[in-house]
């Protein structure tokens, strides 16, 4: 819709919005169908059918992810054993032993079924680079990633909704123009570049400014207890600022445009005619209805939280999944790349499904 992106978020929000409009043109949410015993029972059954359909779709997607992560990385780049040995001198017996160990001599279909079985039991193989199970590296790195991107996610969602509401409510005024312009500008900035500039300005120190924040990493290493928490928070400030700055524009724009859509509605005129204060009209009547597309966007973004910080984590040497993905790519460490790819895609599919399942409960016009 309005935001310039190829991200699924905007289009899902747009489709949900369109679906909502198609079902009840121009009317507020309260006007959804007749309420009674019969329709409600029918609705419940329809809802369960809808959920089953969405879950089935998610399973098909998961299978497609398995197929991609297997074939994309296995069939294109050539002989993994040669890449693993990296040009060192190895005897042909050693090569053969390695091929047998990784099951590379089996037929492709057997390799694929083995792979599926392994993934279902949480076994992604052994990293070429670290010589530890991929699953261990992932569980090790998922905590820092969730901390960093989770904090940023909460912040940019709250900031985006708040500023989007203000912008739409004072549509066309100087504040709206400023915030929309600023958000669009920050949205056009490459996140890694903003991160590098922040490091130069606040960590290395520019001119009279001393280095206020650490240049990277998650902890200084010699703290414990409360001091440790403060230390991690100190390391988190710059990466979180970077993620929030490039991330809040989308929420702001979706919130703004969906609130603008609601603003001409009759039910707002009614609310005003009742004598409600402007503030209450906004908080109790307009915003709850306008929040629906934003909620879809929030869930879709929640899925990308896991994969969303590859560059920022790399730039700030954050010990998370994104940084790990970059390390794995530069080798390339095939099992690790494969495992991370699977985790990233699974997170998105999972969250999209959750959004699909919850959405009809929030907005009765959808999915019936």
């Amino acid at each position: 819709m309005t935001a310039a992106d190829s991200n699924p978020a905007a289009i899902l929000a747009a489709e949900a919005e369109a679906a909502a409009k198609g079902a009840a043109p121009g009317g507020p949410a309260e006007q959804a169908g007749p309420r009674g015993r019969g329709p409600r029972a029918r609705n419940t059954r329809a809802y369960l059918q809808y959920v089953a359909g969405k879950l089935g779709g998610a399973l098909v997607s998961m299978f497609a992810v398995l197929v991609t992560s297997f074939f994309l990385f296995r069939l294109i780049p050539g002989d993994p054993v040669k890449q693993m040995t990296g040009g060192r001198r190895v005897s042909s017996e050693q090569l053969a032993a390695m091929r047998a160990e990784f099951g590379l001599d089996d037929p492709v279909w057997q390799q694929f079924t083995d792979y599926c079985g392994n993934v279902l039991t949480g076994d992604f193989g052994t990293s070429y680079q670290f010589h530890t199970p991929v699953m261990d590296k992932i569980t090790e790195a998922i905590g820092p990633t969730l901390w960093l991107t989770g904090t940023a996610y909460v912040l940019y969602t709250v900031i985006g909704i708040w500023l989007g509401t203000r912008s739409a409510w004072r549509n066309g005024r100087i504040g709206d123009r400023f915030h929309t312009g600023l958000a669009l500008t920050l949205y056009s900035v490459p996140s890694f570049w903003l991160g590098l500039l922040l490091i130069i300005t606040f960590s290395v120190g520019a001119g009279p400014l001393p280095g206020l924040f650490p240049t990277g990493g998650m902890e200084s290493g010699d703290e414990s207890g409360f001091a440790y928490v403060m230390d991690v928070a100190h390391h988190m400030i710059l990466p979180v600022i970077t993620l929030v700055a490039v991330g809040y524009a989308q929420t702001l724009l979706v919130m703004r445009s969906s609130l603008l859509d609601e603003m001409g509605s009759d039910y707002l005129t009614t609310a005003r005619a009742k004598g409600l204060r402007d503030d209450l009209v906004r908080r109790r009547h307009a915003v709850p209805n306008a929040l629906l597309p934003t909620v879809t966007l929030m869930f879709v973004n929640l899925g990308t939280v896991v994969a969303g910080a590859i560059l920022v984590e790399t730039v700030f040497s954050w010990p998370g999944l994104g940084g790990l993905f970059y390390q794995a790519l530069s080798v390339p460490d095939l099992p690790l790349v494969q495992g991370l790819f699977f985790v990233f895609a699974t997170a998105v599919i999972l969250m999209n499904t959750v959004a699909d399942v919850i959405y009809p409960l929030l907005d009765p016009r959808v999915g019936r």
């Binding site: 190829s6 997607s61 490459p190 590098l196 895609a345």
Partner: protein, 322 residues
């Protein structure tokens, strides 16, 4: 808002240009069609002009495109040469080198102008590929029903949930390093958004009576898709293209920064990677890092502004601020 746009004389345009004038004598259908197109283009431009941000974005794009096209004349053809670098390594901005020099002693301003070529080329080609795939998939998925539409929409949905950047990185890392790889990686990962939009529009167009009339007159699938549906989805596709370009340029910079770009050509993302490798971050050499990033942001923003202006001309309900 009206105060700011009052200087643009949009509503005062003479009314007689709004409708295609009736021909004095019978003209050929082709000539009529062209007159109609000219008039609707003029109407589009009159509307577009009232969007200040859009005009600003367009002006910025024209300037940058001119600079990129005339790069050899502006800064010389040998600016990318490492062996014939004019200055010393890592010089701060000075009168001779307004933006300083890189670790090989090359003039950064000249590299920035050359980089515009790659960033714009890759951005445009990738966006074109992405939108072309999306349009074909969207129209066919909307036109044909049954198993074909089901399968193709399942594939689209699946691409839609893939983390785009992760998939593009994976593709770029398993193929050769060249700008074509980057174009391909961006093109094949970003088309689903367009496909969904185009399909929705196709369904809306195909429910109109004139499609039924065309079918009754014997119009085949190809005729209906090419002559009736395509012209109706084109405006949407145009707006989508400008928006996709800006994200393609950002993705190109990202891939180049990760070292997945063509190492033999200068691009803005590649310049940032060079800067990082030369230790510009720990040395605090902001003058090396700032200009390429600003250039990326300006171009991406310019395309976004144009795209939003086009979108709101075509669909005024979006309420995009002018």
């Amino acid at each position: 808002m009206t105060a700011e746009t009052a200087d643009v004389p949009a509503p005062q345009e003479p009314e007689n240009t709004r409708e295609p004038q009736l021909p004095k004598e019978a003209r050929s259908p082709r000539a009529l069609a062209w007159t109609r197109r000219r008039h609707s283009a003029a109407r589009f431009w009159r509307e577009y002009r009232t969007h200040r941000a859009g005009v600003f974005g367009l002006a910025a794009l024209v300037l940058i495109t001119l600079a990129a096209v005339f790069a050899p004349l502006l800064v010389g053809a040998d600016a990318q040469s490492v062996t014939e670098a004019p200055g010393e390594a890592m010089q701060s901005p000075s009168g001779e080198f307004p933006l300083g020099t890189d670790q090989f002693g090359r003039d950064l301003l000249a590299l920035l102008v050359w980089g515009a070529r790659i960033s714009l080329t890759v951005g445009l080609l990738a966006a074109f590929l992405s939108v072309a795939i999306g349009t074909v998939v969207g129209i066919t998925a909307g036109h044909f029903r049954g198993w074909y539409a089901t399968v193709i929409m399942r594939v689209t949905d699946w691409f839609l949930v893939m983390p785009t950047l992760v998939l593009a990185i994976a593709l770029a890392s398993v193929m050769d390093r060249s700008i074509w790889t980057i174009v391909l990686a961006i093109g094949v990962t970003t088309w689903p958004t367009t496909a969904r939009l185009v399909r929705a529009q196709t369904l809306a167009v195909e429910s109109r009576p004139y499609i039924e009339r065309a079918q009754a007159l014997g119009g085949g699938h190809g005729h209906i898709m090419a002559r009736h549906v395509l012209p109706n989805v084109m405006p949407l596709v145009l707006a989508q293209t400008t928006l996709v370009i800006s994200s393609a340029i950002l993705t190109e910079a990202t891939l180049a920064f990760l070292g997945l770009g063509d190492p033999t050509v200068v691009s803005w993302g590649g310049l940032l990677q060079d800067a990082r490798e030369a230790g510009a971050v720990s040395a605090g050499d902001w003058w090396y890092l700032a200009p390429p990033g600003i250039a990326i942001a300006v171009v991406a923003l310019a395309f976004t502004l144009c795209g939003r202006a086009v979108e709101s001309v075509l669909n005024p309900r979006l309420g995009v601020s002018r």
